[in-house]
Amino acid sequence: MKSRPALRDTLIAVVALAVILVIPAFHRSPAFEDYIIRLSAMALFATSLNLLVGSTGMVSFGHGMFYGLGAYSFALTMQLTDLSLPVAAILAVLLTVVAAFLVGAVCVRLGSDYFAFVTLAMQMLFFSVIISWQSLTGGDQGLRGGIPRREIFGFDLSSQLHLYQFSAIVAVLGLLALRHVSASPFGATLRMIRDNETRAAFLGVVLWRARLIAFVIAGGFAGLGGVLAALFVSGAYPELADWPNSGQAIFAVMLGGIESFLGPLVGAMILLALNDVVTRTTEYYGLVLGIVILAFALGLRRGVLDYLRRWWAQGRTGRAR
């Protein structure tokens, strides 16, 4: 097992995907399907952020910018051109990659505090552009009129089931790709930079280059998440690129666990489920969310998955004794 982690990861992904795809054959639940569609977008968003926060130790407060950029560029390409959906999606991700490269080139050499500030500033700048460039983006009203969802490979994305299947496939493939990045020697380099950047530099790692690559990869996958989000709401709204949305991703990472690859996925699951359940019963969603996050921060002191893994590891050493 240990010698072939890539095979093991792929197997897990295939099984997970198969389970998700089979569920609607037995039981159709529109709410569950909506949940998975939104989770797909959020999971890519949060997991890509964790490549920066967890793996590299770069706390970016502006990650929502790339999520929003992915959503807007995809939705606009679909509205303004006749390109097919996958081409529009790839273009959107490429655009996000370029944007992440430009933003990263400015930010990655900064110390951690300034990195956080400047990424946030970049996001606010991007948000202001969306608000001001009304003729293109619709300003604070968002992009209206819906996204024409042209059929691809027999998938009709205006059908909920097809969008569900499409989102699940994209998300699982995306997560698998991110997993490979973090398990690769490059991922190990990133963790080394996180733990001791001086030593990494002495070993010949070009710090800014590794950080920039991580930043660009993370931006690209956030953009992919944004594409799914745009498909779900059939449009794009400035809120997708606003800083509270970046905060959501940071919450997801903190709730789920910073050290486990699937932590942000678990965090996103909790956050979305919490949102759905709490808004159904009370208007004080912010209060409940705050209490839950406090409980995690003060009580568990780490995310759910990190906690469980540590507990499991402790149990094993306990038994071995």
């Binding site: 529109p30 909506d34 819906g146």
Partner: protein, 411 residues
């Protein structure tokens, strides 16, 4: 380690519970469920709460008279927190898992556009009860077969207001104007729209200064001094809600209202009643007041609302009340809650309503209401707050609206 076992289990159990909860099977019941979504939390929660109050009044009336199609109505409320992507999710949830057969969308405009796309996908009958942005129904690319608007429409108000203000300007020989509106799409677009129609009615007007305060800006000193220094003869402002109260209160300190005439279409009861010294003589449109239309039915509605909720109704209250009336009439006529059938019944429908300028309001074939009360008058510091209200000329509104639609290539 042992002592922490309970904590672990409860955490695991809690997590599992949370994960299972979103798709608890829907309860099938004989009650007719109508979904209502709005902003019920945050600084503009008044949108949601006063809309809900308007809906509740009507639903109680219908239920006590035996319900709709013999079924009791149950309204399922959801808070979108004013976020468009939440608005889209909530709309899908209301229909897909809460079992709602009809939708009342009391979102602000950005949320309404998100809901519109969900309705396009789901084909459910939906009434937008708060969005005034004209393109929602006027633009055929955005219009949806089963979605309707029961609310004011921006372009109607702009025409009516401009016509009134042009007359007012002629009578008072006013040519130099200043504008002061919130710095976002609504403020900028609507100001431009008013000016466009205004120039049509009166070609010799001149805008001497423009001020664009930020939404929720607490200190308006720079705005007020800028306006006073420009020495306009009159000011047109689209500030609303808390920003409008703040502007009037702070403008009083600088005696702004004695130095120029002021016109604003956004005076609503919550603003009128919270301003400390409401200056007399501001040209104001009636979003909702009990004395216009000056009929027994309107007065009775306003009074019963106040008695029930111990607060004044808002513009949103009447729009939502009326939306329920339209929904009730359409479902009865279609004898079904099916999206297509209800939509077919709604097109061209006319209902009797205290909010109609002639006692009726019509749903036009482009899915928006016409004939609702639009009037302009002058403020007075005590109730009824706005007096000598002149009703707008709907004939002129419709004529110029058609022209505007052609300009926008909507028709």
């Amino acid at each position: 380690m042992r002592t922490r076992g309970i904590g672990r289990r409860s955490i695991l159990g809690g997590t599992a519970g949370l994960l299972a909860a979103p798709w608890v099977a829907r309860a099938q019941a004989k009650t007719l469920r109508i979904g209502m979504q709005s902003i019920f939390s945050g600084p503009i929660a008044l949108v949601g709460t006063s809309s809900r109050a308007g809906v509740q009044m009507e639903v109680e009336r219908i239920n006590s008279a035996g319900g709709l199609l013999g079924r009791q109505i149950e309204i399922v409320y959801r808070d979108s927190k004013g976020q468009p992507q939440e608005a889209a999710r909530v709309a899908r949830e209301l229909v897909n898992s809460a079992g709602c057969e009809l939708l009342l969308d009391a979102e602000a405009s950005s949320g309404a556009f998100a809901v519109q796309e969900v309705v396009r996908d789901l084909g459910v009958a939906c009434i937008h009860c708060n969005s005034e942005t004209s393109s929602l129904t006027a633009d055929p690319k955005i219009r949806v077969p089963t979605a309707f608007r029961v609310a004011r429409q921006g372009v109607h108000d702009a025409i009516a207001g401009s016509a009134y203000l042009a007359e007012f300007a002629n009578a008072n020989k006013i040519t130099k104007w200043a504008t002061c509106s919130p710095d976002y799409a609504y403020g900028r677009d609507t100001t431009a729209q008013y000016l466009q129609f205004f120039k049509k009615f009166k070609s010799d007007i001149e805008v001497v200064t423009e001020a664009w305060p930020k939404l929720g800006q607490p200190d308006l000193t720079e705005v007020i001094t800028k306006l006073i220094q420009a020495k306009p003869q009159a000011l047109f402002t689209l500030l609303y809600a808390g920003d409008l109260s703040a502007f009037v209160n702070q403008g009083n300190v600088y005696a702004l209202f004695s130095q120029m005439k002021v016109a604003c279409p956004n005076f609503d009861y919550p603003v009128l009643t919270t301003i400390k010294n409401l200056p007399a003589g501001i040209q104001a449109a009636t979003r909702y007041i009990e004395t216009f239309p000056d009929t027994a039915a309107n007065k009775a509605w306003g009074e019963s609302y106040r008695k029930k909720y111990n607060e004044f109704p808002t513009n949103w209250s009447w729009e939502n009340s009326l939306a329920v009336q339209f929904m009730e009439a359409a479902v009865k006529k279609a004898n079904s809650t099916d999206g297509k059938a209800v939509a077919a019944a709604l097109v061209g429908m006319k209902v009797n309503s205290p909010f109609g300028v002639d006692g009726t309001i019509t749903m036009r074939d482009d899915h928006t209401t016409i004939g609702y009360a639009i009037g302009w008058g002058q403020t007075v510091p005590q109730p009824p707050y706005i007096t000598s209200v002149k009703p707008a000329d709907w004939g002129k509104i419709l004529e110029l609206e058609t022209e505007w639609k052609k300009q926008q290539h909507y028709i």
